[in-house]
Point group: C2
Chain length 367, copies 2
């Protein structure tokens, strides 16, 4: 067994999921995640936790959904019972084919997901953690060799999470205490957002931080009253379409102009989805220095140290004051800007917190 797989399993079980003796754990193993499954089983055994293993086979799910008449039973009780009584669900993703579900009709997928809303909620009510085992299919999607992709994934996952959580907490405090964030980059980006009365989330890849993805490594909050213009220079694929150098102009919190080098139509369709999709729901600041390149996999890209992402659409409840609902929308689409260029800065209430991609507490920061 590759030592990195063992370390991944330990990080998942200890740091992320905080598994204790006697915990009732469901391990969901993707088709390509067998090796991580074996390592996780060993760690669960060591901790005298209980283990039920489910098989998250995309090919089985596809065959089932396509063959079914589409009137899926609502939350079959035998399955819900499993999750309602579980303490933790560890989801070990790792596909063998990123297009495995490509020919399930969209309405079938929607019907299936809707029928299982109660089961989904029961899973989300556990101390769940989702992680990814590097597979050749994911390497291919990232345009990387398998070996290089493995290194990339383990660099992102095998961090000193306690130290990173502490660093992220500094930024969280600054955001919690601040009223306005400003992003400035060359002559095309100058954006201000209110963060008054909002609470930032320290997404430190652990249920102890209400953070459920490994890797993680970002601090995010819910902005309001956005004004100015921003260019997202990190290319990405959204709804199967390549988006490049998208430019959004905001006034009084709402998008008033859009253009892009590529993918403008898709972007426009997203903004026009509903009332909330014209506004930002998230400001996220990537803090994971293990992620040093763009792979067009949003869960990695948005955590990259030295980047900032903004999401059109739905805001996360955890960022909002009690009783306030924040921005509502059917969509939540992240767009990313690289802050690691000369003259770029992130300010809170006029104070420079990050310059050229370096936080003010980091080596390399020039005040």
């Amino acid at each position: 067994m590759d030592d990195r797989v063992t370390e991944h399993a330990r990080t998942l079980v200890d740091w992320s999921a905080r598994i204790d003796a006697g915990d009732d754990v469901v391990v969901s193993v993707g088709e390509g995640a067998h090796d991580l499954g074996v390592a996780v089983a060993e760690e669960l055994g060591k901790r005298d936790a209980n283990m039920v293993v489910t098989y998250a086979s995309e090919e089985m799910s596809r065959a089932y959904q396509r063959a079914h008449d589409g009137a899926f039973a609502a939350d079959p009780e035998y399955e819900r019972a499993l999750y309602e009584q579980a303490d933790s669900v560890l989801s070990l993703r790792g596909t063998r084919n990123t297009s495995a579900s490509a020919d399930i009709p969209e309405e079938t997928q929607t019907a299936y997901a809707q029928a299982r809303e109660g089961i989904r909620e029961a899973r989300l009510d556990t101390d769940w953690v989702s992680t990814v085992h590097p597979t050749r299919a994911l390497a291919q999607q990232a345009g990387m060799s398998y070996q290089a992709y493995q290194e990339f994934v383990y660099d992102a996952i095998l961090r000193d999470w306690a130290a990173l959580a502490e660093e992220m907490d500094r930024l969280k405090q600054l955001l919690d205490d601040g009223s306005e964030v400003r992003l400035v980059k060359d002559d095309r980006t100058d954006l201000t957002m209110s963060i008054e009365n909002r609470t930032a989330v320290n997404s430190a890849a652990s249920v102890a931080y209400d953070s459920h993805n490994l890797p993680s490594g970002e601090v995010f909050t819910a902005p309001a009253d956005t004004a100015g213009q921003v260019v997202f220079d990190v290319p990405m694929t959204i709804r199967g379409t390549r988006i490049r150098d998208a430019r959004l102009v905001f006034k009084d919190g709402v998008v008033v102009d859009i253009d892009a080098e590529a993918g403008e139509d898709v972007l426009r369709a997203i903004v026009e989805t509903d009332g909330g999709s014209e506004c930002l729901g998230e400001l996220g600041i990537g803090m994971n220095r293990g992620i040093d390149r763009v792979t067009d996999q949003i869960l990695f890209d948005e955590k990259m140290g030295g980047t900032v992402h903004l999401a059109l659409g739905r805001a996360y409840e955890a960022c909002l004051p009690e009783g306030e609902s924040g921005n509502q929308s059917a969509v939540h689409v992240d767009l990313i800007t690289d802050m690691q260029t000369d003259g770029t800065r992130l300010e809170i209430d006029g104070e420079v917190i990050q310059r050229d991609g370096y936080f003010r507490w980091e080596d390399g920061f020039e005040g």
Copy 2:
């Protein structure tokens, strides 16, 4: 998808498990059984059954059990709830390594099995069916090429089960109505057994026949008062030891003499296990003509058309009159005799039912 895999899945879902719309089905997928899993998922979808998929990974189970301190929790409730509420459990075996569990200490395996007795019972209370997907590891164990092994397995599984069940029912009626069975083969086998008041089981690979393995194809009952001598000329591996031409001599239902060309010590140890291991618990008559060769895999070998097997040890309750407990033992070890040789016969109350391996209703039978 190989058509045979699809046919296997259909046979399992329709004939064996009798799955109906809305049934709550657990599919347990072995490490090497993915392809059968996909075919079964499609059949379950077609029938609008519900599906939960578990992953029966021997490598995960080994890692877990070896790492655990051995004080396994008794029947964790979240897992028991799943099986208690399920209608059917379809176990798709198919190992990638028949020695995958070889280095789990025996006491650990025993402790793990004992702690999970309630879960096992909950599974057995469902309409469960166990089947096997042909893998290279199983082909290797059988000493066969993968392609030849696949043909062998599908020949055994893809039968006209309704017709076979009808044929087996004839034999069941004869056994149910009879008082004494006699086996005769050359000058070394002449054995009589009482089957007075016993009920034979028509093991037709379907829950409708209380038969839970696919393939199956045998009729069995619980004999008593065995007398005479029998030679088991089908070689097999028991407890890792090759057994060849074992000869047992019975008097008043009890083994009084043992010898064997190979493996005599193991056989002797089995007979000496406890009081019940000196007696026969089962007389089984193989009826599956799709199984035409010995592969040293007992679930196939004992079903082979033209063979008879006798088990030392525990009797099956289904064969006994209400309230009678039958032969009790910690062991149940099958031994097989090939009846397809000249002059061999199986008699019930003096009437020849099978000669030279042919039943009296078959072409080739000479009365």
